[in-house]
């Protein structure tokens, strides 16, 4: 069930939209912001608010990389795996994270603290290699600095 807060944020987006389905990405993100992901149940509810069918909304939702349709941990770590980051040390960074957390791309730690995902270029190539945790961008990231960064996210 969507919370009242979520519903009212969606209603606000709808009020600004020229047509209801225009607000669909915003609506999905409004829910994801609070829950980390969008479940089937939530998707169906959002769809109803937007006058869309679940299939119609999911067609849009699954198109985008950053609408999560599967559960994620409390924090989502995204590593930019595009070229500049790749050539400036993505792999050591990834290896370090893998070893440190025991998960690979697409997985969530057992304590549900972190989910690790690859992402396309984050538009911060001047700071490569970059890593994003939730909404915070880090770069250039040395493997040695990871521990300190992760500590901020519990």
């Amino acid at each position: 069930m969507l919370t009242d807060e979520e519903k009212s944020e969606i209603a606000e987006e709808l009020a600004q939209a020229e047509r209801r389905e225009q607000a669909c990405v915003e609506a999905l993100l409004a829910v994801q912001k609070r829950r980390g992901w969008v479940s089937d149940e939530n998707l169906a509810e959002i769809a109803l608010l937007l006058g869309m069918t679940p299939a119609e909304l999911d067609a849009v939702a699954t198109f985008y990389s950053f609408v999560f349709r599967k559960p994620v941990g409390r924090h989502v770590i995204t590593l930019c795996d595009s070229m500049v980051c790749w050539s400036l040390g993505l792999n050591p960074l990834y290896e370090h994270l893998k070893a440190r957390m025991g998960i690979t791309y697409g997985e969530t730690t057992k304590d549900n603290r972190f989910t690790l995902l690859p992402a396309s270029c984050m538009g911060a190539c001047d700071r490569a290699p970059v890593m994003m945790i939730d909404n915070d961008l880090y770069g250039p990231v040395e493997p040695g600095a990871i521990e300190g960064i992760l500590r901020k996210y519990t």
């Binding site: 047509r19 209801r20 389905e21 089937d40 769809a47 109803l48 937007l50 006058g51 869309m52 069918t53 679940p54 299939a55 119609e56 999911d58 067609a59 699954t62 198109f63 985008y64």
Partner: protein
């Protein structure tokens, strides 16, 4: 002032340096296909037009004569233009086309031998056509999970080549909202949001729309036969009054599937699921296969311990002859689901005085009214193509999606005309599908739906109005008066309901008047004559006010209008005749009277009858009351003529020879006539004779003879073969019984033959038993027959319209001229269901399953801003 306008209606284009004349509003792909070029394509579809996704239709386009390099363009996205030069044969274009196939095959499972589509697969055809044979990719193929999509359609996603046709049809044409495309890049997935039966009643078209084996016919799967091993014949759907053209296929005595048969004016490229999957009643366990006798059963049900006795054809005829000879009065009850010929010969057998049409009394009255309205005009009855071309539609009282699904689909297509109008203003070609949709941005031509219950086209209606039938009639009368003040008045209800009617009537009237091609749709669904009168008055008012309005009446069964035109007395009169002792014997043709009148009345009727003779396909409550039961051939085992709601007479053709005593109703009645000495012995009666005779007695029905070419029709001296030239196992099929191959049966009734031999080219549309053209084995071969490309068919040969308004213009129908029973119509009008309301299709397991589950299947969000994809 007179001047000669030189309208240049063709343009010249050069293909591989040769000049060709083509129509100017086409794209290059259409032009090439029409000219007979084998140009491969996937995402283009004649009803869905161009989107340029698959990139398969590439040709080389040159700037001018001097340009030798040229550039590759997608022919489906390029408008033809005078003097244009292109090459289909160009090496680079060829190799690009081969590469597109190579890409599409990278992940395709190559499972043709076990794939239902194998042998009639557009992807197979195009692969062969481009010459792609060698697999270079050495990496694993992508795989997907398949979904359960209900009892009609099977899903096998791995075969997908991402042409987007399925979603474009399902959403863009049929308005379904539970199938979509998910995900992105080389992982796009076409299906539902979760497993479950497809909600659209047009889902079966996915089978034909999909160019490969992703969506296949699940009912066919259970008795699978390859296209080439089916014995097929052109047919007409018997599951409602729309009269969609079909192709029916049989193997080993069972009917295996129904496909669409293109008819520009009727169903075009699509069928509804009732029509496509209802066919299995033909194979039902309830089929009556032999003439049976059940003495004494008529007067009081089945006597205890008495078993029915198979008596054989001749004995049955003899016995009935005896009964008829000694009867104190014989009446015949025909049926709106039996052919004209069957009804007519029954009428002949018992005499016109003793022939009863077999409609329910209400329907009888309504149909008579409809026939009068249509004949008198001034509004003409539109074909579905006319409805698709309408720019304003008013539905008055008819739940068309449930009672006439393809007509509802035509309405759905009509509301898109607004978009075409917008696109035309922007000079965008009508075939550029996404451009039309995007620039139209969901705009719709006006549709108004006034019905007792919510309908599945409410989502595209400008306004949906809910009222009981009388309320709907009031709205209708008010609209007519808004358009033309001399139209009669129907006062508003005394209790003050319907206050919204005047304003709504004004709005609707304004839209209808402003339209160039308004269509009014009504029908018998409300069981209310005033609703019909209202519809007639609106269309009359419109015609007087200017726009040439058309008026479509939805009739419930495949030959209801035929029954109406043949006339015949009402059922009530039949009951009275029996009660009054003026008759003691009844012959009932293909009709379950328990569906036509109340149980008590029918029971009383049967109790009074001394002899009950029933002819039908399937056991039903009426059959249970018969003393003698005659097995009647279904549409698949006989030929005959049906009159659709449009008043189009169309011929269905026997697909296969029935087993046992089964024969057409009209053949039974002919046998009886003969046996009673009413026909000269030795003579033979053929279908064409019956139709011709019918035409002599009913001049209005005379054109029915030309609904299809006669039995004597030949192409180059040859008949049209029901079996394909690849039909396999002919010599082995009956080897279990006899090693001698039997001589193929003759068919003296039609121009079709029960054999592989005959004319192989494209026959006239009315005689088309399958689509094929060299290299084109799938249904897409339709696009190769010249008369069918570019939306044009020689439709005159496929059915014939019987009623054009005389223009004698009798005036409006005043409320006072209508029987009073409708005034007090307080009972709730019936609710119809596409799966469930029709008798025969309910005997098809897949349809029955959907009917059972109708309640569990959620109809997802309607209203809102349905996106305009």
């Amino acid at each position: 002032m007179f001047s000669v306008l030189s309208v240049k209606d063709m343009v010249t284009i050069y293909i591989d340096s040769k000049p060709y004349e083509v129509k100017p509003d086409q794209n290059l792909l259409q032009a090439c296909l029409t000219l007979g070029f084998d140009l491969p394509y996937f995402c283009w579809h004649p009803a869905m037009h161009s989107v340029g996704a698959c990139r398969q239709c590439a040709v080389k386009l040159f700037k001018d004569e001097k340009d030798t390099r040229g550039r590759i363009v997608m022919s489906c996205m390029t408008p033809v233009a005078e003097g244009m030069r292109l090459s289909v044969d160009d090496a680079e274009a060829r190799s690009f086309r081969a590469s597109v196939i190579e890409w599409l095959m990278l992940n395709h499972p190559h499972d043709c031998p076990v794939c239902d589509e194998g042998g009639e697969c557009h992807l197979q055809d195009m692969t062969v056509m481009t010459g792609h044979v060698y697999r270079r990719k050495r990496f694993p193929k992508r795989t997907h999970r398949n979904q359960y999509l209900g009892p009609f359609v099977n899903h096998e996603m791995n075969r997908c080549i991402q042409c987007y046709r399925c979603v474009r049809f399902y959403r863009g044409i049929a308005g379904g909202r539970d199938l979509n495309v998910f995900s992105c890049h080389d992982n796009v997935y076409f299906g539902r949001h979760e497993d479950g039966a497809l909600e659209s009643e047009f889902s079966g078209n996915l089978v034909e729309v999909c160019p490969t084996g992703v969506f296949t016919d699940k009912t066919l799967k259970r008795h699978y036969t390859r296209k080439w091993d089916l014995q097929t014949a052109p047919s007409v759907c018997v599951h409602c009054g729309v009269g969609c053209n079909t192709i029916a296929g049989e193997r080993y005595g069972s009917l295996r599937r129904i496909l669409n048969r293109h008819h520009r004016d009727v169903n075009s490229y699509f069928l509804c699921d009732r029509g496509r999957f209802g066919y299995e009643f033909v194979n039902s366990e309830k089929r009556i296969r032999s003439a049976t006798c059940l003495p004494f059963s008529a007067s009081g049900g089945k006597p205890h311990g008495e078993e029915s006795r198979k008596i054989g054809k001749q004995a049955a005829v003899d016995q009935i002859t005896k009964i008829l000879a000694s009867a104190k009065g014989v009446i015949g009850i025909g049926s709106p689901r039996a052919s004209l010929e069957t009804n007519f010969l029954l009428r002949k057998l018992v005499g016109p005085e003793n022939f009863f049409a077999g409609l329910s009394d209400t329907e009888h009255r309504l149909v008579a009214r409809i026939v009068a309205i249509l004949r008198e005009g001034p509004a003409r009855t539109p074909s579905l193509q006319d409805i698709r071309a309408a720019d304003a539609v008013l539905v008055l009282g008819e739940d068309a999606p449930n009672t006439a699904p393809l007509l509802a689909l035509a309405i759905r297509q009509s509301v898109r005309n607004k978009q075409f109008e917008i696109a035309a203003k922007m000079r965008l070609p009508a075939w550029d599908d996404n451009a039309v949709r995007n620039s139209g941005a969901g705009a719709r031509s006006p549709l108004f739906v006034a019905t007792p219950y919510a309908t599945r086209i409410d989502d595209i209606a400008l306004r949906a109005f809910r009222a009981d039938p009388v309320g709907i009639a009031r709205l209708g009368f008010a609209i007519a008066r808004e358009i033309e003040p001399s139209a009669p008045e129907l006062p508003l209800a005394a209790d003050g309901t319907g206050q919204d009617i005047p304003a709504l009537a004004r709005e609707i009237a304004a839209f209808l008047k402003a339209a160039k091609h308004p269509v009014i749709v009504s029908g018998t669904g409300c069981l209310n004559e005033q609703v019909l009168a209202a519809a007639a008055n609106i269309s009359r008012a419109l015609c007087l006010a200017g726009p040439s309005a058309q008026l479509s009446f939805v009739l419930p069964e495949c030959n209801t209008l035929g029954s109406g035109l043949l006339g015949g007395r009402t059922l009530d009169e039949a009951f009275t005749r029996m009660q009054d002792g003026l008759a003691d014997t009844v012959i009932i043709a293909e009709n379950d009277l328990y569906r036509r009148a109340g149980r008590r009345e029918v029971d009383a009727f049967f109790r009074k009858a001394r002899h009950v003779i029933v002819l039908d396909h399937l056991r039903n409550p009426t059959v249970e009351r018969a003393e003698i039961v005659l097995p009647a051939a279904t549409f698949a085992e006989s030929s005959g003529t049906l009159v659709s709601s449009e008043a189009r007479a169309q011929r269905f053709f026997q697909v296969f020879l029935a087993e046992g005593d089964v024969q057409a109703g009209w053949e039974w009645f002919d046998d009886l006539q003969r046996s009673m000495g009413k026909q000269p012995p030795g003579s033979e009666t053929r279908l064409d004779d019956v139709t011709a005779l019918l035409g002599r007695e009913f001049p209005l029905l005379a054109p029915a003879s030309s609904a299809a070419p006669p039995a004597s029709f030949r192409v180059a001296g040859q008949k049209i073969p029901r079996q394909s030239h690849r039909f396999s196992g002919r010599t082995a099929m009956t080897a279990g019984a006899d090693v001698h191959e039997p001589k193929p049966a003759d068919d003296a009734d039609t121009a079709l033959a029960y054999s592989m031999e005959g004319h192989e080219g494209a026959p006239p549309p009315a005689l088309t038993p399958r689509y094929w053209s060299p290299g084109w084995n799938s249904v897409q071969a339709l696009g190769k027959s010249p008369q069918e490309t570019g939306e044009e068919t020689n439709s005159g040969e496929s059915g014939v319209r019987l009623i054009e308004p005389t223009g004698s213009a009798p005036g409006y129908i005043g409320p006072e001229t209508i029987g009073s029973e409708d005034w007090e119509a307080t009972v709730a009008p019936p609710r119809y269901r596409i799966f469930g309301s029709e008798e025969l299709s309910m005997q098809a397991p897949a349809i029955a399953e959907m009917a059972r589950r109708a309640e569990d299947i959620p109809r997802q969000a309607t209203g809102g801003n349905a996106s305009h994809e």
